[in-house]
Amino acid sequence: MTDSAASGVLLTGGAGWLFVIFAVFALGTAVAVVVARNPVHSALFLLSSFLLVACIFFLQKAEFVGAVQILVYAGGIMVLFLFVIMLVHQRTVKTVKTFQHQWDIALLFLVVFLIPFLYVFWTEKFPEIPANPDALRMVRGKIAGNTEAVAWLLYRDYLLPFEVASVFLLVAMIGAVVLGKRSVEKVD
């Protein structure tokens, strides 16, 4: 699994085929999320989609993002989703349609939207800068590892967005608690 420093090539050989397998399965499970009738099935397909995308991140030498993806998305958000699905699960199995009434127009719009974008993404030629895979692991000129390199960037150059993100999480937590409360009864 070597990266070629030649222009534009990111993955070669066996790693390339691995990417194709992961991508095909990630897209397949994503389609299953949208098409599944039961929301629990959708949640489980989404979980596997997240894990497959995390595998793609590892192939792209983004180990920190891949690990955070598994921890936060697969381990946190999907557990939250499953809790809520179980909480509001209705016993009576109603024969309700999966898609809203406008699904055919939406599909048509999507296909029309897809074709030009796919053409551009497939044929666009990017500038021929050689990709330097070691730059993703360097800390102050020495090879250290992806997590160290990301941490070096996160806590120095991007400290302000980091602090803003933590305030955002605090606000989201307060908001979720307030929204989840039952209506407060008046106390005499």
Partner: protein, 101 residues
């Protein structure tokens, strides 16, 4: 098999459009939220692909922030779902809608 940036972009865009379709047409509100997570995931894929291509870690840092925001947004969305269920006893977006026409 040689993979270039274009392959990553195509996969990311297809993932995004699948999520977009889910947001537009699913009846269950929870599945709509899951489709939003799919779209955010696709954006992350795009960011990390460019980060690898340009040998710049900024894309990966941005992806970490996107994951953070997605987590907060999922929490709020789920709290809203519970609130919606308490008010209208249904998760069907067409039934819960009070808009005329």
């Amino acid at each position: 098999m040689t993979i270039t940036l274009n392959h990553y972009l195509v996969v990311s865009f297809l993932l995004f459009s699948i999520g977009l379709f889910g947001v537009l047409v699913r009846r269950n509100f929870l599945t709509v939220l899951m489709s939003v997570e799919l779209m955010l995931n696709a954006v992350n894929l795009n960011l990390v692909a460019f980060s690898q291509r340009l040998s710049d870690l900024t894309g990966q840092v941005f992806a970490v922030f996107v994951i953070t925001i997605a987590a907060g947004e999922a929490a709020i969305g789920l709290a809203l779902t519970i609130s919606l269920f308490r008010q209208r006893r249904t998760l069907n977006v067409e039934e819960a809608s009070t808009m005329q026409g």
